[in-house]
Symmetry: C2
């Protein structure tokens, strides 16, 4: 081992900042996660420069977001997700189509090259379920029908976003012989197979294999198995170009029915409480305030943010109207945040020389705006939805949910 | 967030290897930690090269060893450590003096320059409590008097090792005006003040302040406080040139009496089970087998390993004879592993051009040998000690200990 003096110090500074900001924001009636994002901007290289994003903090942030989505998966029983399947598909598809079309339209008006138009439109597509899931978990709302629809739709969004990136990417690849149907079909097939296998086959297989866990000598083998499944499926999802968090979510869902027997909730909670705040602080650290304030970034960024918000909200609402407009509003609003997937798309475009530096910053601004506006209002919209819909469609707070 | 595809894959591969090796070694009646070390050598760059030590794995390894020592601290009530104070000081001091003297003697015979002689002798000094603590925790033996003496002595060793490094360092600094008494006195003062404050004042202060935790809005504030204390004191210990794990241990001890009220054991256990194996796999990954097998490394390495084992054993036994020779043997043997501190000393010497590359590898070999020989025998020696000593000095297995 080399002397690695700064790792622990970095972890301490970020966690202390996260907890301080969380406490302050809870006291002013806002979700802790907003405090974590803002304190990340504050201590990051854009402002104070106390901590820089490096492999140390990125590692812990990745662990955090994987644990977060695994935890959300654990709280999502597959049959509950099937119940909302149609709504989730509608919300997901409309929530992808409208932002893509509108984003493309706006970019066409700016006179950017076609390839850049398509890339920025793609960056507007995928919902970042991290923020919404965090707010809903912290407020004990993750067990509601609306939350299920959001999460199901976000998984679908991620698959669609990945496919659109593949299509746009092969359209716009420099010197490419045009569009590669085979690659896109292969990616689509793998993604769908992955999700269907994990959502349908895996939970049953795991349930059947669970008793043999008792033969292992490893102490607390079920917990070790859960961690292995979480990391393994997240890594596998990344290998087939899905977001790792989709794999982590599906791993959690595959274990949802065994969660109580194996005491997984209680064992994951300390991991959640330690690691998840890093993800949100680090997201804040990646924001360069000075750059975002320049007019050539600020103006298109704000216009595209409005487009991103309105179209996702409209798509989500249209897809979920069956449950009443109040619930549809909560769902549409919960779909608004764009996160790491949008940034990854923009970063790929930047790396290929298709997206200008300026429009990369625009994408960052869209992510920031769409992310920051959601947590303050979302619990209120969920509370209104609760009043508006039929009681049986809103599962009541579990004791575990309200304890968080 | 940049696309960081490989983080989760690396974490998966290491955890899977650790659990597989742990299971195999438990089945052949050996501690899981040995399997983790060996699988680390196997998958590391020295042999298969599946995973390389980088900031990702070093980060998680550091988190693991900090959690390990924090957990050991949580299980060590300060008053129990005071009871074994005299023995621990004797074991610590003798266990430093003998290896240093013998190591210096051997190096003088080899004809190495004085500065190199002193550096290698210093590298033999500090006990790495990580291995011993892990084996004793896994076997439910951490609550014994012998374990307390080992842990107390290891803290003392770490302080003494740090002081000797400061003294030797200022003796041998290139172009230095000789030995800097002031710096050494300052370091010694800070180290002693840090340890005494945390071991004596902090537990009472925390106990008095604990009820005010209820006023915080942060959910599960005591756990967040415990994590902050663990990271903060580990970082602070590193700032004053102690090992971070000493700070983590003292943080755990400061919270030991509140551990039950705050449910810290149960909450730390999942962190322990996920993160601690990384430390041992990564320790294995840093071993370059091909280099260690060269005769010019192998021969002095084995000689120095024997010296390191015999002198630490003798020092530990001499210091602990009051409790009977069987217990003294268990204690002396538990003190044998040298770990990251020895490597840090050698690395400092290498960086300053005082220690040859060859002797750096020799230090690595000493660490490997002294580390690997301990886990297989230690539980047996503890079992013998249990038969040999008066029953009241050996606390029986706790249910929690035996469950691990």
């Amino acid at each position: 081992m080399e002397p690695t003096t700064n790792i622990i110090l970095e972890l301490f500074v970020i966690f202390a900042a996260a907890k301080l900001a969380g406490e302050v924001f809870e006291r002013i009636g806002q979700p802790a996660v907003i405090g974590e994002l803002i304190v990340g901007v504050l201590i990051g290289p854009g402002l104070l420069g106390w901590v820089r994003p490096d492999m140390v903090v990125d590692t812990v942030a990745q662990m955090g977001v994987v644990v977060l989505l695994f935890m959300v998966g654990l709280e999502t029983r597959p049959d509950e997700l099937y119940c909302v399947g149609t709504d989730a598909v509608l919300v997901g598809v409309l929530g992808v189509a409208l932002p893509f079309a509108a984003g493309w339209g706006y970019m066409a008006l700016t006179g950017a090259p076609l390839s850049e138009q398509l890339f920025i439109a793609t960056a507007l597509v995928a919902t970042s379920v991290g923020i919404t899931a965090r707010v809903l978990r912290d407020k004990g709302l993750i067990d509601t029908r609306a939350a299920r629809i959001i999460i199901g739709a976000a998984v679908i969004d991620d698959i669609l976003g990945m496919l659109i990136l593949a299509i746009v990417g092969s359209f716009t690849a420099k010197g490419s012989a045009g569009f590669d149907w085979k690659e896109v079909a292969l990616l689509a097939g793998m993604a769908v197979a992955f999700v269907v296998f994990l959502a349908v086959v895996a939970p049953r297989a795991i349930k059947r294999g669970a008793p043999s866990m008792a033969h292992l000598r490893t102490p607390n083998a079920p917990f070790a198995f859960a961690i292995l499944l979480m990391l393994g499926l997240a890594a596998l999802a990344e290998q087939i170009q899905l977001a790792g968090i989709v794999g982590a979510f599906l791993a959690g869902m595959a274990l949802a029915e065994l969660g109580d027997d194996w005491n997984l909730h209680d064992q994951m909670r300390p991991l959640y409480e330690w690691l998840v705040p890093y993800f949100f602080v680090v997201m804040g650290m990646h924001v360069n305030v000075a750059l975002l304030m320049r007019p050539e970034v600020l103006i298109p960024g704000l216009i595209l943010s409005v487009i991103a918000i309105v179209t996702k909200l409209a798509g989500g609402m249209l897809g979920a109207l069956r449950g009443g407009w109040r619930e549809a509003l909560a769902i549409g609003y919960g779909m608004v945040p764009r996160g790491e997937v949008g940034l990854i798309v923009a970063a790929v475009g930047l790396a290929r020389g298709i997206v200008e530096e300026r429009y990369y910053s625009v994408a960052v601004l869209v992510v920031v705006v769409t992310t920051v506006i959601v947590p303050p209002l979302l619990p209120r919209l969920f509370a209104q939805a609760r009043e508006g819909v039929k009681p049986e469609t809103l599962v009541p707070l579990t004791p575990e949910g309200s304890a968080r």
